[in-house]
Amino acid sequence: MSKGSIRYAVAGVIAAALAASVAHADAIKQTKAPFEDKFRQLEGEDWPTPTDYRNASGAPGYRYWQQKVDYDVSVRLNEDTKTLTGRETINYRNNSPDSLPYLWLLLEQDAKRNSIAEMTDTVSGDSVSLNEIRRIQRFKEWEGGFTITSVKDSSGRPLKFTVVDTLLRVDLPQSVKANGGETKIVIEWTLPLIENKIVGGRSGYECFTGKDEDGNCIYEAAQWFPRLAVYSDYEGWHNKAFLGSGEFTLEFGDYRVALTVPSDHVVSATGVLQNAAAVLSPAQRDRLTKARTASEPVYVVTPEEAVAAEKGKAKTEKTWIFQASNVRDFGWASSRKFVWDALGVKQEDPKAEHPVVMAMSFFPKEARPLWDAYSTKSIAHTLKVYSDFTFAYPYPVAQSVNGPVGGMEYPMISFNGPRPVKDKKTGKLTYTDRAKYGLIGVVIHEVGHNYFPMIVNSDERQWTWMDEGLNSFLQFQAEKQWDKKFPSRRGEPKNIVEYMVSQDQVPLMTQSDSVIQFGPNGYSKPATALVVLRETVMGRELFDRAFKEYSTRWRFKHPTPYDFFRTMEESSGVDLDWFWRGWFYSTDHVDIALDKIVQGRIDSGDPDAEAAVRKAERAKEPESLTASRNTGKTVVELDPKTRDFYDQTDEFTVFDSARKKAKSSREDLTPEELAAQGFKDNLYRFTFRNIGGLVMPVILKMDFTDGTSETASPPRSGGGIPSR
């Protein structure tokens, strides 16, 4: 993006700092005129007061705390009924300074039931799609959501619980003590899985039961067990119902999950497989070991093995056991259709917890050959680029699974959709460029979500941009490092214009469920804002350091927007409040016009020279149109007696009196004044107008008649920042 032209470090210029707008509804008011201070500081007025838990520089405070929630889960997949039956033991450690008499858990799959989400769903247009009808038909016979069979304490006594829309409150006989108190609860439940292509959502199954298909299914499980809601220093319980947009806000903890599935299934899950010997053949285990040091992805389950498995249907079961440390969620996928490939990715950071990360992909034959070629390599590329911008990947595996879900992220595992197409008539296999770049892009995006929000654990239910925006920014970086010509959907400044000028939009600082134009708002605009911040406002050096600082500070913690804003400013020393105000707090767009250029010279003080300049300027003006169209002779032309002194001189005629006066005033000049009067350079004055209202650096390229150009812009790295 950066061209080699010399950029003058002039004081940057901002157009129209003062513009008419409604005054803030706060104590400070300018009541004398319509007034908006676009450079007004956010600290002290709009941002929350710093605390011992999160400090004024944007870092976790000296008494920062967060809860720890560990899960021990056993779950069985019934392939005939497509239902999960589970039992979990939750160990809740209360590190907060408050004792807690009840716990809130999340039952997000209940959004598919008689929920706020379903009841408030609206329709538009005047047609009904086939999928809509199928969905309505499905809901007549299928009730989604959890059935909570029991909630007990560790000694088996039933606990009172209440389901509130997508939330579950468990009342405890005794409060969990503050500052490290612990409690255990045991929950049993069943959950019918969603047929994803009909019901929709971020998980579910897909069956290949069409003509010429093998009849098998892929199961992708997510939000499949009751998970603890976050309890934080700034919001208490994060118990806002799931409406379908604001995704998941979760606590860190350690997981041990035993997944019982048909014995011919292959399972991919958050964490590391603990019992490979019980579920994989010796040859498969050997291939997995070889993949660790291979230079190309190695098949752990070969395409031939997968096709062979598709032909049977096991009556027996196997249990796959996974363990994951310090994760905020757990997802998994299971199918006898899966091909599995793997590649060890060496991390560049010598302090990386896992010097080699296993990048692995799981996909049916229908996804081949695109997935063999691009999925695992895209994972490897993601880990490299994202870690360059943030920190070494702290988990042992990173996985991409093909199934019905178009693109969705969980710790160490992601569900991704794009496949080649097989022509129904001819059987010809082709793939579109959209599928190819869509696959690479979505794998980068969903694997990238490990960094934001799986590790830098922001609150998705509240702020979409904090994970989708930051992640889309890094996705754009990774795509441009994959291929300079990568057809990136989000990140390029020129591509955001259509959204920025649109009417039906809300500021980025809007709660997720209230966001309209979700993609451009949650993803594209914040991604573009960060590109502009990096390339145009701060420069790469300052931006990259500050961004890394934010990522590192909030790694395995819960940041808020203010922690991000404060860190970016404190780490770089650049005041960015005007930038946050414009891009994150407003719906202004960028449109700065160059209205006028004036070329100034300094009056030489020589009356003859100055008169000549004035005369030459006058000569450029056309004469009176009326006078020029008159064909008859004028009085002055016809009658010589009317001509006098004033016909022989004009306003540019210089007389000795003026020369004498100029000479005497020159004698009064100091040497400094004389030198100034002799200054011959041009003083160019450029007049700008800020039409869009968004405050931005003014970058001005000036072309000169000798063929040279100069670009004046704010310093890109270090130094000052645009002022009025």
Binding site: M1, K3, V10, I14, A15, A16, A17, P493, K494, I496, V497, M500, V501, V532, E535, T536, H589, V590, D591, I592, A593, L594, K596, I597, V598, Q599, G600, R601, I602, D603, E610, V613, R614, A676, Q677, K680, D681, N682, L683, Y684, R685, F686, T687, F688, I691, G692, M696, V698, I699, L700, K701, M702, D703, F704, T705, D706, T708, E710, A712, R724
Partner: protein, 80 residues
């Protein structure tokens, strides 16, 4: 608002955001190829501060605040 740039060279035209990096919504008003308006600046001098003592044709000496009639200005003092 107006911004100034000084150069010995003769300007031909100018363009805002030439690398398309700011998401400017209307590129139609970014390029200036119109007439550059010439102007001549006189070097402005700060206005003289009002000086009632001088207007009254009085002066003081270095050793006292007491005023006395001004008379002829002595240019010699302070210079060589």
């Amino acid at each position: 608002m107006t911004w100034q740039h000084v150069s010995a060279k003769q300007l031909k035209g100018a363009e805002l955001d030439p690398l398309w990096e700011t998401a400017d919504a209307d590129r139609g008003n970014n390029v200036y190829e119109g007439a550059i308006t010439p102007t001549t600046f006189k070097i402005s001098k700060p206005p003289e501060t009002s000086n009632r003592m001088k207007d009254a044709d009085l002066e003081v000496g270095r050793d006292s605040l007491a005023t006395r009639p001004g008379g002829e200005t002595k240019k010699a003092e302070g210079s060589k």
